[in-house]
């Protein structure tokens, strides 16, 4: 039995300690993913908590034979984040993540460049580059065809490259 299966068997039996282990392992990457997807601190907190609460209350939706646990929770969070965007359509100039690091420190330039991308492209690129998901896994998480993953990643990289090489001023 894999560690995912073992962990989830305990969670399904209502083992709070097992769920706490699961939370400690996945809460931080999920928050970072939602940070780039939603760009709103309150929203990312809410969506992350809704995702974990849903998993705690009804854990039977996860089938270890179909996908690893981590991909499953990113898929659940992605759906919730998409719902959030439907309820809060992006206004002009909004939807860029709030600064997670102090201005003009290393990484801020890239954060500003990422903020220029649309939320889904940003989240897709983030999962690919920071979390290392394959194209096929990204297609499953975002429920889009493989070709769309390729074209969106290409477009996101090109946009990021243009913004990056254009030299963004630190505020």
């Amino acid at each position: 039995m894999t560690s995912d299966e073992e962990l989830w068997r305990k969670v399904c039996q209502g083992d709070a300690e097992a769920f706490a282990d699961f939370y400690r392992a996945y809460a931080s990457p999920l928050r970072r993913f939602l940070h780039w997807y939603l760009g709103d601190l309150q929203a990312e907190e809410d969506v992350a908590q809704e995702t974990f609460l849903e998993l705690w209350r009804s854990p039977n939706g996860f089938n270890p034979a179909r996908a690893p646990l981590k991909r499953y929770i990113f898929g659940v969070a992605r759906k919730r984040a998409a719902e959030w965007w439907r309820r809060h359509p992006p206004a002009l100039g909004k939807g860029a993540p709030e600064q997670a690091v102090p201005a003009c420190e290393a990484g801020t330039l890239l954060a500003s460049a990422l903020a220029q991308l649309d939320p889904e492209a940003r989240a897709l690129l983030w999962l690919r580059q920071a979390e290392g998901y394959s194209y096929i896994e990204l297609a499953e998480i975002f429920q889009i065809p493989l070709g769309t993953v390729k074209s969106r990643l290409f477009a996101a990289r090109e946009r990021l490259r243009q913004v990056w090489s254009g030299g963004i001023e630190c505020s």
Partner: protein
């Protein structure tokens, strides 16, 4: 290939995803495209740096029970608290328990309530063989039948006869005779390709196989489902068996797909293919075939549809399809279809494009004396000969 054509593929190339063979060749020679690749790498590194800066431990949420298991505590109260029960109710309860126990023992005595699904392979080292290692699969519902298996390699083969004697939820009694012999003189079918083994249940040749196994010793094993059982093969090697006991009537848990193989450059492999439009399965999986050689092509006959022809190069009347591992995306009458195969269809460096056409109304019995009612795959050495045969 020029820079503009190569550009959309640089991103998947950087990510290690399949791209046409000309792309890496172009990127290798072109300083501008190499520069683009380097820029992607730099952005990737910056992303990882930013990610590592924003890592922090998340405190546990307030809604999660802090100590122990809340639900278990609730059950513990249910089990250990005292309740008052009238004696008459206790007597009725005892009678019900005795009655149920009797019924249960009658039910357990019924034969064939369980079935045994198993898979096995040869414990081969790469030094022993450079061919694909086959995985055999079996399903036994009624114990007592002999199952002769043949696993053939070009030089040598393993013959085995499995006899499942008893199936219980926690134990399976299996007797096995297994021997490794020279392939010469063995009753066997033609392998699909020289480098691929052939594995089959060969009940028609049971007599011949039993004769060849006359000197093989029979060993009986008590197998606990879920464990791995290593069965020594007389003459060298071993069979590795894994299985489980499931209630009769449940769907199979072990996939019945065939031997997994990796295509070599220039080859097309169809391994138990099925055609899928809009997530509904059109057919049962067909067999396995490998098309090797510059002029070769693959054919896939699908009842009521016709004959699909697949080749690595364009041919008259062909259309382009995209291949990704064991999945091929094609269009027929303006609709999208997927052709799924149990292993990669073409080698990684063959690029994502394959050419196909559908010969509608094709009848295999007219040309090859095969059945018209079952899907089938077959490789053809010369696509030109095939086209002449099909179109006159």
């Amino acid at each position: 290939m020029n820079c503009q054509e190569a550009l959309p593929f640089i991103s998947p190339l950087y990510d290690g995803e399949p791209v046409p063979g000309e792309v890496p060749e172009h990127v290798q020679k072109c300083p501008q495209c190499r520069g683009r690749l380097n820029e992607y790498a730099q952005l990737d590194a910056e992303c990882r740096l930013l990610d590592s800066m924003s890592r922090r431990e998340e405190p546990l949420p307030a809604w999660l029970p802090r100590t122990g298991d809340l639900r278990r505590r609730v059950w513990s109260i249910v089990w250990t608290s005292r309740v008052l029960v009238p004696r008459a109710a206790l007597i009725i309860l005892l009678m019900v328990i005795v009655g149920l126990s009797l019924k249960l023992s009658l039910t357990r005595a019924q034969p064939n309530a369980q079935r045994f699904e198993f898979e096995y392979d040869l414990g081969l080292s790469t030094a022993e063989s450079d061919v694909a290692s086959p995985i055999g699969r079996g399903l036994v519902i009624a114990p007592g039948h002999d199952m002769p298996w043949v696993i053939s390699y070009p030089q040598w083969s393993v013959l085995a006869v499995f006899k499942i004697q008893e199936i219980r939820a926690d134990l399976v009694r299996v007797s096995v005779r297994a021997q490794r012999i020279q392939s010469t003189g063995l009753p066997r079918r033609t392998p699909v390709a020289p480098r691929v083994s052939w594995l089959c249940i060969d009940t028609q040749r049971e007599g011949e196989i039993n004769k060849l196994l006359a000197t093989a010793r029979e060993s009986t094993y008590l197998y606990h489902p879920g464990q791995t059982l290593e069965i020594p093969v007389q003459g060298g090697g071993s069979l590795i068996l894994n299985g489980r006991v499931t209630p009769f009537g449940e769907p199979n848990s072990i996939s019945m797909t065939q031997t997994l193989i990796e295509p070599a450059p220039g080859e097309i492999v169809l391994n138990g293919p099925v055609l899928v439009p809009e997530r509904s399965l059109i057919s049962k999986p067909a067999g396995i075939a490998i098309a090797t050689g510059e002029k070769s092509c693959m054919t896939y006959y699908l009842p009521h549809w016709g004959l699909f022809i697949l080749a690595l190069h364009p041919f008259p009347g062909s259309s382009e399809a995209t291949v990704y591992h064991g999945q091929m995306l094609l269009k027929l009458d303006g609709k999208r279809y997927y052709l799924f195969s149990a292993s990669p269809i073409i080698a990684d460096n063959s690029g994502p494009t394959i050419y196909y056409s559908l010969v509608r109304g094709y009848k295999p019995s007219k040309y090859f004396q095969e059945s018209d009612s079952a899907p089938a795959v077959r490789s053809e050495k010369d696509i030109g000969d095939l086209m002449r045969k099909l179109h006159g």
